[in-house]
């Protein structure tokens, strides 16, 4: 091959790299290993963790331990999907294009909004992009975000928009739901999460009206499983809905990759970031699918693009679509109701324990927060030793909420597990444990 290329050595191929920037020492990395050694090493690393299956988990807060059916792995594992690039050649990519079209449809159906993009990185980045849409659309620089929105989503919003000189104001969320009086004047967007970080259910319709009265857009951060039983954003007039699709057939994976979803009203279609698939016909009139409205995108518009995003989380979106197709029209509400019943049961059981009080007092669907008589961090550590992932310590995000524990209940938790967990928590709280707090 060297002869065909017309060089005498491999070294000659690098003749154009200046000598001063050539690396003359080997990289300081471990030497390569065989596949069996590699498997052993990764098994060792995996073995140093305690996966959800080895514990009884009540962890949620943006990542949920729902069962992932086998069909999801079977489909997303097909290498035609997994090892393809972005579908730039539509005639040879109809499978992924059609699946994205079907995914967009599913997100429209879930959210009750007419247009959804092909997916984004996660809920936090989707929220940041939604706010950027609102800022462009309204020409305003102020944003009002409830403190009930996941603290990490808010942190991502603040970081990603750091160069845009926005004023991000917070609406109080002191008793598990956002304060009713929203100061929406002069804002580009009002943002609430349903259910919120504490599992509380917000009055989204009233918040949407307050936003619209002030000429602001209303952005709803929503949970796709809860949308099986909760009113969709389209019903209460949201202009943009975003959320995390992890719960739809995507494993926990220590935080990623998940998928952010985004749906908007017709008025905002041309401001959408990211990929969008549309239906069309070929030269013979046969139906086909293409990437469309690409004049919004960075590879065409460069600095005038709606966003820098040049990928989606296609394989995660495919998992979400397969999962939603597995559940179907009946299964999603059934799952939503099952989680709501179990969460309701567990909350009632835990509230029987002396010293435990509700933080989110109203209706819940999968997640809820409790006030404990001692700091949550110590309780979480103690219960981990008993095999429970008890929940998330709200104090890690909210000053003054060190005694608030946020718990999630998926369909995987049995009554027996919940009863045993209630017993373990009661036990722990009955033990003098101030030293642990």
């Amino acid at each position: 091959m060297l002869a065909v290329v017309g060089v005498g050595s491999q070294e000659e191929l690098y003749a154009e790299i200046p000598e001063t920037v050539r690396l003359r020492a080997p990289l300081d990395l471990p030497a390569g290993i065989s596949e069996s050694e590699l498997f052993a090493e990764l098994r060792r690393l995996a073995g140093a963790n305690s996966p959800a299956g080895a514990m009884v988990s009540f962890l949620g807060a943006g990542a949920y331990d729902h069962y992932v059916p086998a069909v999801v792995d079977a489909i997303t594992g097909r290498s035609e999907f997994a090892t393809a690039y972005t579908p730039y050649q539509p005639e040879r990519s109809q499978g992924v294009l059609q699946s994205i079209f079907e995914y967009q449809t599913a997100i429209c159906e879930l959210t009750g909004l007419p247009v959804a993009n092909a997916s984004m990185y996660d809920a936090g980045t989707a929220l940041a992009e939604a706010v950027m849409i609102a800022v462009t659309q309204t020409g305003r620089k102020r944003v009002l975000v409830s403190r009930g929105v996941h603290p990490e989503y808010r942190q991502v919003l603040a970081t990603e928009t750091a160069g845009l000189a926005l004023e991000i104001a917070e609406a109080a969320c002191d008793d598990g739901v956002t304060a009713a009086a929203l100061r929406a004047a002069d804002t580009a967007a009002v943002v609430l999460q349903q259910p919120n970080f504490f599992g509380g259910l917000e009055d989204m319709a009233t918040a949407a009206r307050a936003a619209h009265d002030a000429g602001a857009l209303f952005i709803a951060v929503v949970d796709p499983i809860a949308l099986g039983i909760l009113a969709p954003p389209g019903d209460y007039g949201a202009d943009i809905a975003v959320g995390d699709g992890q719960a739809l057939g995507n494993p926990l994976n220590f935080g990623g990759p998940y998928l952010g979803f985004m749906a908007v009203g017709e008025a905002l279609v041309r401001r959408l970031p990211g990929r969008l698939v549309g239906e069309t016909v070929d030269v013979e009139g046969r139906r086909g699918f293409v990437l469309t409205l690409q004049t919004r995108e960075q590879h065409i518009r460069r600095e005038k693009a709606t966003s820098n995003i040049c990928s989606n989380h296609a394989l995660n979106a495919l998992a979400a679509l397969v999962y939603l197709s597995w559940l179907g029209k009946q299964g999603l509400p059934e799952l939503g109701l099952l989680c709501a019943r179990k969460a309701d049961y567990l909350r009632a059981r835990l509230l029987e324990i002396p010293g435990v009080a509700p933080y989110t007092a109203g209706p819940i669907v999968r997640e809820f927060a409790l006030r404990l008589p001692r700091p949550a961090a110590g309780i979480i550590s103690a219960l981990a030793e008993r095999g429970y992932l008890a929940g998330v310590d709200a104090g890690r995000f909210y000053a003054g909420l060190d005694d608030v524990l946020v718990l999630a209940v998926t369909e995987r938790r049995t009554r027996a597990e919940m009863d045993a967990f209630a017993g373990a928590l009661a036990d722990e709280l009955a033990t003098p444990g101030a030293d642990r707090g």
């Binding site: 005639e91 109809q94 989503y153 549309g278 469309t292 004049t295 197709s325 059934e334 979480i380 981990a384």
Partner: protein, 486 residues
């Protein structure tokens, strides 16, 4: 064409099974007030499990992946994705970890991330890594936010970022998202940055420069040392768009070239699957002067060998995504680097460069070669000579589909008319390269003999050429259900 999953739906069919309700069966009406409830179910498909599997299996057969055949899509580094990486990423002890489980129960995951950070720093020739960005473009935004924080900490507020005209479109788009203004500089006659233009563009208002090296023409910028010096001289920083790192692993490090911030596309350089458009991962590595600004949390290793997340970083820019990064993608990147080792990575880059030069030698007589230099891992030729037959680069690409080869990137970079950008990668053997060369030669032969074969191509795909203009003019972006009317 395949029916959609919604068209296959029939009322009452189901694939799902849920555990029985073992708690009191309170009615939805008791659990949720009327105003909060959903009143019409989402019209999700109702299909049996076998229908579901057949539907998506049918769709998969319409696609083309690296496992299907050669994929010389320039700038995308479509190398083979080793199967072992999928197996290890599926280990329960890595896959089923909740991001908020106690650190003591995730020591293996933290060790893996900590180690990968150090490996990436070594490969980049820089000091500190964040694994948080979800993709290359996301790494760019993160890097630009780091630049902003760096300048602010020095009491400066420059406004401009310099970008060569060969840059990926994500570069200028990221610049605007980060609140900067993009300043484009032209390339010179050898395809590198025009040094006079650069000198004219640089002043105290320049926050930094973004550069891909080798650039999108597949050419190594010979002036890189001087470029770095002049940018640093006005107080600017150098950002390395790592899209083309596959050319130089273990051969030349961005840090040694003078770059201050580097992103890697794990889905290009480190063999993680592209997934039809993602997920990828875009970790970035920075010089020690920028380490304090990296997103939180940072993983630290204690004296006793335990790992923990450190959120107490007062100068940090914050968080660019939820949780810690695309962990399962990073597991695959770890496995790839571990399997190859330093020498293996170097060998991979050498093969990538040799393969690109071999394909160029096999087809250069057919096209215009805009910059007659030694290419690195990819090259760009112009299909202008085909215009004599009334054939465009796009037509050639579509004809290649008929020959069973994925076409190259077309019409990029923008400075080369009728561009064909070809990147064979190191994982194609000589046989496959010869197949790619033969397919391109055959398609060009067709152009001379029967141009209509190209202008009406493809002929063997499930659909012919699609009406993209119509799709944009009258967007149909979701399933139309019969009850919606038209």
């Amino acid at each position: 064409m395949a029916s959609t999953i919604y068209e296959r739906s029939r009322p009452g069919r189901r694939a799902f099974s849920l555990p029985p309700c073992d708690v009191p069966e309170r009615r939805l009406e008791e659990l949720l007030p009327e105003t909060l409830r959903r009143h019409a179910p989402a019209r999700l498909p109702e299909v049996s499990e076998v229908q579901l599997v057949r539907h998506f299996t049918e769709l998969s057969t319409l696609d083309y992946g690296v496992d299907t055949g050669p994929y010389p899509l320039g700038s995308c580094t479509m190398k083979y994705n080793p199967k072992i990486n999928e197996r290890v990423a599926a280990l329960e002890g890595l896959r089923d970890l909740h991001p908020y489980q106690p650190e003591s129960l995730a020591q293996g995951a933290l060790e893996l991330m900590y180690t990968l950070e150090r490996w990436l720093a070594e490969i980049a020739g820089l000091a500190a890594t964040t694994l948080q960005p979800a993709a290359g473009a996301h790494g760019e935004l993160t890097g630009l936010l780091l630049m902003r924080a760096y300048h602010e900490a020095r009491g400066r507020a420059p406004h401009k970022i310099v970008i060569p005209d060969t840059a990926h479109g994500t570069n200028p788009a990221s610049v605007v998202m980060a609140g900067y203004e993009a300043l484009s500089v032209r390339s010179d006659g050898r395809g590198g940055i025009d040094m006079d233009e650069l000198a004219a563009a640089l002043d105290g208002d320049v926050a930094g420069l973004m550069l891909t090296n080798p650039n999108t023409l597949g050419l190594f910028d010979e002036h890189i040392v001087a470029i770095a010096e002049t940018v640093h001289a006005v107080g600017g920083l150098l950002y390395y768009d790592g899209a083309n790192t596959n050319a130089v692993l273990g051969l030349s490090r961005p840090g040694d070239m003078g770059f201050d911030i580097v992103h890697f596309n794990t889905h290009k350089t480190f063999s993680t699957p592209h997934g039809g458009g993602g997920p990828g991962a875009g970790p970035i590595v920075v010089r020690d002067t920028l380490a304090a600004f990296l997103p939180v949390p940072v993983i630290v290793r204690e004296a006793d060998g335990r790992y923990r997340f450190d959120y107490d970083r007062p100068q940090s820019i914050g968080k660019v995504r939820t949780f810690y990064g695309n962990f399962a993608v990073l597991v695959r990147a770890y496995a790839y680097i571990r399997a190859l080792g330093g020498e293996g990575l170097r060998t991979a880059s050498e093969a990538a460069v040799l393969n690109a030069n071999y394909v160029l030698a096999g087809i250069r007589d057919l096209f215009d070669v805009p910059y007659d230099r030694r290419c690195m891992h990819e090259f760009v030729v112009s299909a202008e000579p085909l215009k004599q037959y009334g054939v465009k680069a796009l037509d050639l690409a579509k004809r290649l589909l008929d020959y069973g080869v994925h076409p190259p990137t077309t019409y990029f970079p923008l400075i080369v008319p009728e561009a064909l950008m070809i990147e064979p990668t190191e994982t194609e053997s000589k046989d496959e390269l010869d197949r790619v060369i033969a397919a391109i030669r055959a398609a060009v032969d067709d152009a001379a003999r029967d141009p209509e074969l190209l202008t009406t191509a493809p002929h063997t795909m499930p659909v012919g050429r699609l009406d993209e203009v119509g799709a944009a003019r009258h967007p149909v972006l979701r399933q139309r259900f019969p009850e919606d009317g038209v």
